[in-house]
Each structure stands twice: as structure tokens, then as C-alpha cells.
Symmetry: C2
Subunit: 64 residues, 2 copies
């Protein structure tokens, strides 16, 4: 399976937000993430980098 | 390998922009895409949907 793990990038490190992400749907200033188990997370943020071969999606929050 | 194919969504259909995409890096109103062969494309547009299990990244151009 080719899902990826979504991380929130903070000043110091990267924190796992949701693993095994299948779908990412930006909507205005939010991102909807859905993983292969049907779990969903909505976060105010933007994608800063995706590295699919490394199974990584890096997100930065736009507000705390 | 878990790369995806990037498509431009137009009014009528979806047109392949770059296959085997590994990295996607948004930068302002542009997206930098790089595939596993080192080919790069920069496009003015935004991600409208990613479906990683289907290996699909859908992009809409922000200007023609």
C-alpha cells in the first residue's frame, strides 16, 4: 500500500499527525486528511513538502 | 515504489502532467514536482486532491 504518514512540522521537530494517510484534500485554509482505516483529521495548515517514496507528508499549522 | 501520477484537472477531464512523482513542494502559488527519475516541473497551481492509494495527485492551474 502506498499511503503516507502526515507530520506537523514545529520549530524543533516533526510530530506524527496521522499515519497511513490515503487522501489529502485542501479546502481553503484547511486540510482534510483521511487514512486507509477511514480516520479523518481536519487541520488548519498547509502542505510544505511531500516525499511519497519516503511516505512523508509534512504540514505546517497556519495558526495554533 | 510509492510514487504517484500528477494530473491537471480541466473542465472536461484530467491530463497527465508528470508520472512517478516523488516530491511535491508548494512554494507560493507554484508547485514544484519532482519524479523518481529526477524530472522536475514547476506549475502555477494548487493541489485539489491527493489519493495516494490510487497513486493520484490532482492539480488545478491557477492561471492559464
Amino acid at each position: 500500500m502506498c499511503e503516507a504518514n502526515a507530520y506537523i512540522r514545529t520549530r524543533d521537530n516533526e510530530e506524527l499527525l496521522l499515519s497511513s494517510v490515503d487522501k489529502v484534500i485542501p479546502n481553503g485554509d484547511e486540510l482534510l486528511l483521511e487514512n486507509i482505516f477511514g480516520q479523518r483529521k481536519i487541520i488548519k495548515g498547509k502542505i510544505v513538502e511531500m516525499a511519497l517514496v519516503d511516505h512523508k507528508i509534512i504540514i505546517e499549522k497556519t495558526e495554533q
